[in-house]
């Protein structure tokens, strides 16, 4: 099962490598990992996507909680949550393709954020599935570069993960 684990970490230099090191040392799967400081500069928020049986996920959360840099942890997949990922993509946009790319981008509610006479750079946010679908629709041919942020996620409702 796929799980999204959200963490509040001490915003210190070693913290990220402790988390990453734990996953490699114990052979846990890591699908994506995003991290940035929060409104409280001493804390960073990490969203980690992993896969495993219930027992493995239980061990993963226990082991993460054991790290001294982990201040709080929640497995968002246990409740209702919202997940978003951002895609930045540079595609060839010449001749006939130019109109077509713009049209597809509009359909997916993408935004063209940079333009040259040969290419568009498009920004698209959504679930991973939506980004996958967009990439599939574009086809391989015209893609110059793809950058995906990996998912960020937050629980639904009025409760938040904070100190």
């Amino acid at each position: 099962m796929r799980h999204i684990i959200s963490l509040l970490l001490e915003n210190e230099s070693g913290a990220l490598s402790r988390v990453a090191g734990l996953f490699s040392a114990r052979g846990y799967n890591i699908e994506s990992l995003t991290v940035a400081a929060t409104e409280d500069p001493t804390l960073s928020r990490m969203t980690l996507v992993t896969r495993g049986s219930d027992e493995i996920i239980e061990q993963i959360t226990k082991q993460l909680n054991k790290l001294l840099d982990v201040v709080k942890l929640v497995d968002l997949t246990e409740g209702a949550h919202i997940e978003r990922e951002m895609l930045l993509i540079k595609v060839e946009a010449t001749d006939g393709a130019r109109e077509e790319v713009k049209r597809l981008s509009d359909i997916f509610r993408g935004r063209i954020i940079d333009v040259t006479d040969r290419a568009y750079t498009i920004e698209l946010t959504g679930t991973g599935d939506k980004l996958d679908a967009f990439l599939q629709t574009l086809g391989k041919a015209g893609i110059i570069e793809v950058v995906r942020s990996g998912p960020s996620a937050i629980a639904r409702g009025d409760k938040g993960l904070h100190l």
């Binding site: 070693g14 239980e58 061990q59 226990k62 001294l68 201040v71």
Partner: protein
């Protein structure tokens, strides 16, 4: 008044109550060594190799319950400690390792003797720190001791760049620290404890399986009371020996790969298993699919990640053994329910039948020294009261089987990492923690050579350690596996070109003895113990091909032990088979 980082370091140790630092100097730690020189409250013990420093601090911690302290220089100084740190980590031993580091301005430049100490030790520490500013030094040191000694204990590394030890600031050692991301649970959940006690009282074939956590948590008194209150059988892991008195009739011996027949059979047949401060290690469980097939399991552990890691548990209790056992004892005393007498009687009858197999019996000899006989004699002569350290191999297993530990912290060995070379430096630490007490290092001719240089440390500090070298001219444990599983192809397990251990001991300024006749064993031990202020190296030339029994081979269940050839034929086994 402002002090330098080096002076602050020494003050911190003093204010933390540190008696001894085990260390070895070098460029990056010179300021600190200079500060040590100018005082005499914190004593420094000079080892001969940094691995020895880590093991000595570890032995000090295991034998005393106080944290062990290490001080090494940057680069090779700290890489040499890694084996010792990992050894402490695997057995959850509180040590704090201070390493010198190149100056902050040089970090990352491949400077002379620079190594990423925090990175290299990360996978084998509870936590580690790099101190970048002298203003944070005292607080970081306080945190290091706090983290190492609380919750599930473990090693902590503090890496201190050389310039930080020269910079000055006001000294203030915090009385306490709190960390927002670290607050170990100590009190067990009362509902869970109640459920556990209910189950425990209903058991027909109960088994109490306890480990290193009872020793780490200073709870052998409570454990002993709890077990005696119930009258249930108790087994200890290799790490838990001494937590329950081995001479108590309720004790069924060690369990696991080289545990007793009765302990392993009782594990296999029990209907309620109470695991206390033990972590279901693979050397204990054997093949997991065959482990305790009939048991409902209660597990008490301070570390949630130890629970249901290898074996799913019905009633988990997160808390310190100390608190949880107190609560359990209270509930058992208050409970109207009593253990089922008839069932318990039948259970003990069964256990005693298993016991009557006398699985540890071995073939005696008057021609060649049996290693087991040496340990039996050692036990007898020291009246079970010595601090016994060991290395890794067959001798370690025999010591665990034949020396009956009635008290905690007397049995000091590397269980989790299984580090050869641990025994002698650990004995140094134990002897510093317990001057005037008998400290014995049980070792093998292969293991002892891995930290042999520490004989020099023993000389410098006049440590009267007694070394019992069970010299079988083989890496016995390796040879045993090759005999059983590799058709006796003894690939590189023979110890050729051994030193003359008498001369070797003498050259370090100690007393050396070689004993090769069974009839001389007792006399030699007596003579050695008479030399109260000398280190005596006793080189016992033992049976070369003796094996450790019982043994659970890979893939086997706890009930599928291989017994000693001299026990296989007994009526008891035929009856049980």
């Amino acid at each position: 008044m402002e002090l330098t980082g080096a002076e602050i370091f020494v003050r911190c140790l003093r204010d933390e109550g540190v008696e001894y630092v085990f260390g070895y100097p070098g460029g990056a730690s010179l300021h600190i060594y200079d500060a040590l020189y100018k005082q005499d409250e914190v004593k420094h013990v000079l080892v001969r190799h940094e691995q020895g420093a880590a093991h000595a601090a570890d032995g000090y911690a295991r034998s005393s319950g106080k944290p062990g302290v290490v001080l090494v220089t940057s680069g090779p100084g700290v890489t040499n400690t890694v084996t010792g740190i990992a050894t402490a980590y695997m057995d959850s031993i509180p040590i704090v390792v201070f390493s010198g580091q190149v100056a902050t301005s040089l970090i990352g430049n491949d400077a002379f003797q620079e190594v990423d100490a925090v990175g290299i030790t990360r996978p084998c520490v509870k936590h580690n720190f790099l101190v970048k500013d002298v203003k944070n030094l005292a607080e970081t040191i306080k945190k290091a001791f706090y983290i190492a000694t609380t919750g599930r204990p473990g090693p902590v590394v503090v890496d201190i760049p050389k310039d930080v030890t020269a910079h000055k600031t006001e000294y203030h050692y915090p009385k306490s620290v709190s960390l927002r991301s670290y607050s170990p649970v100590t009190k067990g959940h009362s509902g869970q404890i109640r459920k556990a006690v209910d189950l425990i009282m209903q058991a027909k074939r109960p088994m109490i399986y306890t480990g290193g956590g009872v020793i780490l948590g200073e709870s052998s008194k409570q454990l002993t009371e709890f077990v005696r209150l119930l009258g249930y059988p108790c087994t200890n892991t290799l790490m838990g020996l001494g937590a329950f008195p081995a001479t108590d009739p309720l004790f069924v011996g060690m369990l696991g790969m080289h545990g007793t027949y009765e302990a392993n059979m009782a594990m296999h047949e029990c209907d309620v298993l109470v695991a206390i401060g033990a972590r279901f290690d693979d050397r204990v469980t054997g093949e997991l699919s065959k482990f305790c097939p009939h048991a409902r399991i209660v597990h008490v552990d301070i570390d949630p990640s130890s629970i249901s890691k290898n074996v799913p548990v019905e009633i988990p209790i997160v808390g310190s053994v100390d608190n949880v056992l107190r609560d359990m004892i209270k509930l058992v005393k208050e409970s109207k329910q009593r253990p089922d007498k008839a069932a318990l009687q039948a259970w003990w009858k069964q256990i005693n039948e298993w016991r009557s197999l006398e699985c540890l019996k071995y073939e005696h000899s008057d021609k060649v020294i049996k290693p087991q006989a040496v340990l039996e004699k050692l036990y007898e002569l020291t009246r079970g009261d010595a601090f016994v350290t060991s290395d890794v191999g067959q001798h370690q297993m025999w010591a665990a089987q034949f020396y009956k530990f009635d008290k905690p912290r007397r049995w000091i060995n590397s269980g989790g990492l299984g580090t050869m070379g641990f025994g002698l430096p650990a004995a140094i630490g134990a002897q510093f923690a317990h001057p005037g007490e008998t400290v014995v290092c049980v070792t093998g001719e292969a293991s002892i050579q891995m930290c042999i240089q520490e004989l020099s440390t023993c000389k410098q500090y006049s440590l009267p350690i007694k070394i019992v070298n069970l010299n079988n001219r083989y890496m016995g444990m390796v040879r045993q596996w090759q005999e059983f599983f590799y058709d006796r192809r003894y690939s590189h397990s023979y110890m050729d070109a051994l030193p003359d251990f008498i001369k070797l001991a003498e050259s370090y300024g100690h007393v050396g003895m070689q004993i090769d006749k069974p009839s001389d064993v007792e006399g030699a031990l007596k003579e050695a113990f008479k030399l109260k202020d000398r280190l005596v190296f006793m080189d016992f030339i033992t049976d070369q091909t003796e094996n450790v029994y019982p043994m659970i081979a890979a893939g086997k269940g706890q009930h599928e032990m291989q017994l000693s050839p001299c026990r296989r034929d007994t009526s008891a086994e035929r009856e049980l088979a």
